[in-house]
C-alpha cells in the first residue's frame, strides 16, 4: 500500500503552538475521505473537530488520546485504499462509496462518515434501526439526533415544551472530559447500551460499564444504575478544576496573541459614523417574507459590506508575513464570537465573497452555535484574511479593535442606536453606527483605511449584490 498522507497536528489559529488529541473518531483500517472529521483536538480555546485531507485507509494512529504534541507532529498515517489494487476488476464502472469499507459480508448499509458513526455512538443510537434521509438513503447526523430524541420503542406523546430543555441537557457536551478512549473503537454490535449521562458518570468514576446491570430500555445502563453500582446516591459535583483551567487557558491564549499584536503591529485607526436607516428598511422588507429562523440580523449586512470593501481595497485583505504583505484573493472572514463562559473565539467563514446575505446569515448562525458548544471544525479555525468584531447589540458606541496577527486589519462595529443626524441642512434622528477600522501601518496608510470605510459604507446600500 502506498502512503498517501501523514495526518499532522494542524495549526488551529495563530495562537496555537500545540494541541491535545482528545479523541480519535477512527481506528486503523477505517476508510476515510477528504473532509471527514477523524479526531477531536483540544486547543487552549476549544475542542475542534479536525478533518483529514486525504482519501485512503488509516494505517496507524501515532498519538494516544490525552497526549499533547506540537503543531506539525504526525498523528496518523493514511495509505492508499486497497481497492485500487485491481484496476481490471473495476473497469469503467465507478465504484460507489468507499470500496475499502472493511468487511463485504455486512448488509449493504449506505456508507457512514466517521462523524455520523461517532455521533450515533455518543447518543447511543442503533444505526441498524435508522432510516437515512440523506443522499442515497445515507444516514445523516440529523437522523441520529432525531432518533436520539425520540426512541422508536417509546415515542413521546407530544412535543411538550419542557421536554425540549431536558432532552438538550441530556446530550453529551462535545468537550467531555469523561468521554474517554475506552469507548472509541467499539462497533455498534459489541458496545454496551448505556445513556450518554451514564457513560459520562461511569468514566468520571472509573467504573467499567460492562459490570453494571442495566435497568433501562433494552437493558440500557442508566445513570441511576451507575450511581447504584458506585454506591452513592448523588451525582458527584462536576470537576470544577477542569472548567477553571480551561478558562485560564483561554485567557492565556488570548493574552499571548493580543500581546504579540500589540508588540508587533503598529496600529492606526480610522472610523466613520454611518446612517443605518436605509439598510434597516431593506432588511425589514427582506425579513418580512421569511420565517423567523431564516431572518437576517443587521450585523450580517455589515459582514456582507465588509467583504465587498475587502475586495475593493485588497491592501487590507491578507497577511503580513516575513516583512511583507501577502494579499489574499478570497475573503476569509473571521468573526469574533463571544462564548458563554466569557471567552472569545474567532472562527472563519471561508470564501465569504461567494455568499449572499442569506447565505452569510446561515453560516453565521451555524458558526456561533457551534463556537458556543465547541464543535468547530479545523478548517474554520484557519486564520481569516480579515476579521470583524461587533458590539452591535449594545454596550459601546465604538470599538477600536486589536488586529489578529498575521492579519492586517480588523473592523469593529459599535452599537446601532438612534442618534441625532444632520441631513440636507436639517437635524433629524436616525439609527446610526460607528464603524472603526484598525489597520497595520506597516501594510497600509490612513488613506487606504479611509477608502475601505467609504467602500464599506457604499456597499451597505447594495445588500443585494453578491
Amino acid at each position: 500500500m502506498r502512503r498517501v498522507g501523514v495526518f499532522q497536528m494542524p495549526s488551529l489559529g495563530a495562537d496555537m503552538d500545540s494541541g491535545k488529541v482528545l479523541e480519535w473518531l477512527v481506528s486503523p483500517g477505517d476508510t476515510v475521505h477528504r473532509g471527514d472529521v477523524i479526531a477531536v483536538v483540544d486547543t487552549a480555546k476549544a475542542a475542534i473537530e479536525v478533518e483529514v485531507f486525504h482519501d485512503g485507509v488509516v494505517t496507524a494512529l501515532l498519538v494516544e488520546p490525552g497526549e499533547s504534541v506540537a503543531v506539525g507532529t504526525p498523528l496518523a498515517t493514511i495509505d492508499e485504499q486497497p481497492a485500487h489494487r485491481a484496476p481490471a476488476e473495476t473497469g469503467d464502472t465507478a465504484e460507489p462509496g468507499p470500496a475499502g469499507e472493511a468487511s463485504s459480508d455486512r448488509e449493504p448499509v449506505p456508507p457512514l462518515s466517521p462523524p455520523v458513526r461517532h455521533l450515533a455512538h455518543q447518543l447511543d443510537v442503533d444505526l441498524s434501526t435508522l432510516q437515512g434521509t440523506g443522499p442515497d438513503g445515507a444516514i445523516t447526523r440529523e437522523d441520529i439526533r432525531s432518533a436520539a430524541r425520540v426512541p422508536p420503542e417509546q415515542p413521546l406523546p407530544s412535543q411538550s415544551p419542557p421536554s425540549m430543555s431536558t432532552t438538550k441537557s441530556e446530550e453529551p457536551l462535545p468537550v467531555d472530559a469523561g468521554r474517554g478512549p475506552a469507548t472509541r473503537a467499539e462497533t455498534p454490535a459489541d458496545r454496551i447500551r448505556a445513556t450518554p449521562r451514564a457513560r459520562r458518570v461511569a468514566a468520571e468514576q472509573g467504573l467499567d460499564l460492562s459490570a453494571v446491570d442495566g435497568s433501562g430500555p433494552h437493558g440500557a445502563v442508566t445513570e441511576a444504575d451507575v450511581m447504584g453500582a458506585i454506591g452513592e446516591d448523588r451525582t458527584p459535583p462536576p470537576a470544577e478544576g477542569h472548567h477553571v483551567d480551561h478558562k485560564q487557558a483561554m485567557r492565556a491564549a488570548i493574552a499571548s496573541l493580543m500581546g504579540r499584536s500589540a508588540r508587533e503591529i503598529p496600529h492606526y485607526y480610522v472610523s466613520q459614523t454611518i446612517d443605518f436607516a436605509q439598510p434597516l428598511q431593506w432588511l425589514r422588507r427582506h425579513n418580512a417574507e421569511l420565517k423567523p429562523r431564516q431572518r437576517v440580523l443587521p450585523v450580517v449586512l455589515l459582514l456582507h459590506a465588509t467583504v465587498r470593501a475587502a475586495l475593493q481595497v485588497p491592501d487590507l485583505n491578507g497577511h503580513w508575513v516575513d516583512d511583507g504583505f501577502a494579499g489574499s484573493e478570497a475573503v476569509h472572514l473571521g468573526v469574533a464570537v463571544a462564548t458563554r463562559t466569557g471567552g472569545l473565539i474567532t472562527p472563519t467563514i471561508r470564501d465569504a465573497q461567494e455568499h449572499d446575505v442569506d447565505s452569510l446569515m446561515e453560516h453565521l448562525r451555524d458558526l456561533v452555535k457551534r463556537a458556543r458548544v465547541g464543535t468547530l471544525k479545523a478548517h474554520e479555525m484557519q486564520p481569516g484574511s480579515i476579521t470583524t468584531t461587533s458590539l452591535a447589540d449594545g454596550g459601546a458606541d465604538t470599538l477600536h479593535g486589536v488586529i489578529y496577527p498575521p492579519q492586517v486589519a480588523l473592523v469593529g462595529f459599535g452599537a446601532i442606536a438612534e442618534r441625532p443626524w444632520a441631513d440636507q441642512g436639517m437635524l433629524t434622528v436616525r439609527p446610526t453606527l460607528t464603524v472603526t477600522l484598525a489597520a497595520d501601518h506597516r501594510a497600509s496608510d490612513g488613506r487606504t483605511g479611509a477608502a475601505f470605510l467609504t467602500a464599506l459604507s457604499q456597499a451597505l446600500t447594495q445588500p443585494e449584490e453578491s
Binding site: 412535543q159 415544551p161 419542557p162 425540549m164 430543555s165 438538550k168 441537557s169 425589514r284 425579513n287 418580512a288 420565517k291 423567523p292 429562523r293 431572518r295 440580523l297 443587521p298 450585523v299 463571544a338 458563554r340 453565521l364 448562525r365 456561533v368 452591535a392 447589540d393 449594545g394
Partner: protein, 81 residues
Amino acid sequence: MNHTQARTLVLATLADVAPEIDVEDLDPGVSLRDGADLDSMDFLDYVSTLSEAIGSDIPEDDYGQVDTVGAAVAYLASRTA
C-alpha cells in the same frame, strides 16, 4: 394555550437558547435583550422556537411584545386563544 402553558413554553425556550440564564429567577418585566443579556442571535433563536411552537409567524413588528417573560406569556396566550 393558557397562561401557565405559555409561561412553561417561554421559560423552557429561554433555558434552551441561553443556558446560562437562571430562568426561574428572571424578573418577568425585564427586557430579554437589554436586561437578560440575550444577544441578537439568541433572541432570534428564541422567537423562532416560540413561533414554531405556536405554529404561526411572529413578525418582526411584534418582537417588542415578546421581549419580557410577562409580555411574551400574554402575547402567546392571546395569539393561541
